[in-house]
Symmetry: C2
DNA sequence: CTCCTTTTGTTCGACGTCCGAACTAATAGG
DNA sequence: CCTATTAGTTCGGACGTCGAACAAAAGGAG
């Protein structure tokens, strides 16, 4: 029997405390609850909850509201996540702009800003300085202490925050974004793939599906895989490459070296060609044949993924969301014809339209804070 | 922000103890180690390790070997998993036989037995009684205390051990195998899909790949997905349905309702037809055109899965393993042509040939024991 | 042979955490 | 005004880890 080479850490009283702090915070995250309610919900003693809450109040993670109306007995003191507590900052490096956004502990966005920045002409250091500038702006606007910063990047990102490869950002090869940006803003910085964060935004801010495939249609076709309420990154951080699933083995050659990849049939450039449209706005107005083409291809590609992972739902985002319910309907039909699961797969349109990755990044920081502070 | 409806349990001193017990056991699982070595490896204090080891010795999980040879200083007392400690029992319900097997704490198989049993003619209760009989036999032969029993089933199994649907066992619909079998043998019983357990056997007993797709070729084509050293079941326990990935959209109709599924091209019956063979033995001797057909179809289907999940390795089992290295070579080539990952995907032949599911079931029980007893 | 060094394993007090139960606080209803 | 009810706090006990001191068992130097 081969050993697990896992690097597990020893547990002690501090581990327990952290775990239970997280329990209390997640119990309060949904709706305000009293200490007694938290105790009943988590299984902890009222005494223990009191002690934990004292800590959390001192740390500014919780606040006590005054709403002493109710039935018999001593009125309860509802606790809630402190809207003025530590916040998460999301940053997005787009192809020709940068954005930043602040989310408070409750997950509501308190400030957003986006400015143009041509990353094809300038080098990464320049782009990151621009980003740091608007981070300062939004943080000043929100006026909250910063717990952490997360950067959304359009490419392959390693767990330690290095952008390895970005198809549309040729100058950003092997850039240690987390480290570089950490020296520009005084806060812990992490970095993640942009499509993955958009999927998380959909999970947290949109429809709460613990297991889903979030398909982001653009020039490429990416997917964020959410399993059991958590994002799945894959062994090398590259999971979600849906664009190169083969949907037409004899079809057009793809940049990846294969033929008939989903991207060559249902990517934005292919859809523009199918619709005879000049730009995305025109495509959305008069999709024509593009709708059928995209639906068929997506049906084939998604069926494989859904069968393989036994996913109960698929969410269409990016261009696909803009193409409207007609596409959702057709993809759903194509999918149900090929998938055997009962109950049948649900196909939905993305609910978080604007700044999905940005919101996902900012909320992700506070979610981590609430989960295990 | 939507709350996580997770049912997390409170932590206490007992939780810590359990966790650290697991740490000690996994530390000695690879090679025997002294208390001091365990302390250094896990980060626990020597004192704490001593206390934990005392417990584990008393429980019969560990034994102290005598090998006091070495350099300076007081000689170390090597500890190892107790080969006479609690064991795991694996049971397999095949189409026309039942099997049972005992694995000790170190993961070595101590007894195996397999007898014919026609599950198409007799009902589940009869089959389970046969299984219980040979469980008694192998347990008597091994002479070890039984920690748990795991049943491998050829179909969809829910987390609580109910066999929902088994294509080749029409009488076994919605059978609560775990519960029924639990009343026949006095030990905790769980049940899992047979292909999944074969994948785990490959993980533990064969090549130790923390992330892989194990493809099991039979009448259907199933897959066990191993992510980060653990099996991925999916939201509904049905993950791994590789057989109905579409590899030829215009192809033959499949029982699932779709067309051109992998199963219709690279399943056993399709391969027999392609090779013009009467049975599997003949197919293995003279595969002919079947080799190319299978390799192409697997290449297309696996490329999608590998891209989607960013898997570093694929292991071919079942009939595919019997078809030899020629198939492995061709699938590898087809796959590398379509997958962009670096380093390239590895394609391997299954190392655990006989009784894979049986071994996976038995070893799975003891692995769980060692992980968090 | 004796003493010193080195490494292993044990013992003991201090600290942190949770639990259970008793106690105080605050409200509604009779 | 008194009682029942619910909320929150306080305190001792139990459990577990840590750190340091201590005992044990070898090899090597003089």
């Amino acid at each position: 029997m081969t050993p697990l080479p896992s690097e597990a850490h020893p547990a002690g009283p501090a581990t327990v405390r952290r775990h239970n702090r997280g329990l209390v915070l997640t119990a309060v995250a949904g709706a305000p609850a009293s200490r007694a309610a938290v105790a009943a919900h988590t299984g902890l003693t009222r005494g223990t909850v009191s002690s934990l809450v004292d800590d959390l109040l001192a740390d500014g993670m919780l606040v006590e509201r005054e709403a002493p109306r109710g039935g018999r007995g001593r009125p309860a003191n509802p606790l809630q996540l402190n809207p003025s507590g530590p916040c998460g900052v999301g940053v997005e490096i787009g192809v020709d702009d940068v954005g930043a956004c602040v989310a408070d502990l409750t997950g509501t966005v308190r400030a957003v800003r986006r400015v143009p920045s041509d990353h094809r002409r300038h080098d990464p250091a320049h782009g990151l300085r621009r980003a740091a500038d608007i981070v300062r702006d939004v943080v000043a606007e929100a006026g909250l202490p910063v717990a952490g910063v997360r950067v959304a990047l359009p490419g392959v990102v390693t767990p330690d925050g290095v952008l390895q490869r970005a198809p549309n950002l040729p100058r950003w090869q092997d850039v240690g974004v987390a480290e570089l940006f950490g020296s520009l803003v005084e806060a812990p910085v992490s970095a993640t793939n942009e499509a993955d964060l958009a999927a998380l935004a959909e999970l947290w801010d949109g429809q709460a599906l613990r297991d889903m495939l979030f398909v982001s249609g653009g020039v490429g076709v990416g997917a964020g895989i959410v399993l059991d309420g958590r994002l799945f990154h894959g062994a090398g951080g590259r999971a979600g490459e849906l664009g190169h699933v083969v949907v037409d083995p004899g079809g057009r050659a793809c940049t990846c070296g294969g033929t008939g990849c989903l991207e060559t049939v249902a990517g934005v450039t292919a859809l523009l060609r199918a619709a005879g449209a000049a730009d995305v706005d025109e495509l959305v107005r008069e999709p024509g044949a593009a709708l059928d083409v995209a639906a068929d291809a997506l049906g084939v590609a998604l069926a494989g993924a859904v069968n393989l992972l036994d996913l109960p739902a698929v969410v269409l985002g990016g261009v696909y969301a803009r193409l409207g319910d007609a596409l959702v309907e057709r993809v759903g039909a194509a999918l149900r014809a090929r998938v055997l699961a009962r109950p049948p797969v649900r196909v939905l349109r993305a609910a978080v339209a604007r700044d999905a990755a940005l919101r996902g990044a900012a909320i992700g920081v506070v979610r981590e804070l609430v989960g295990a502070p």
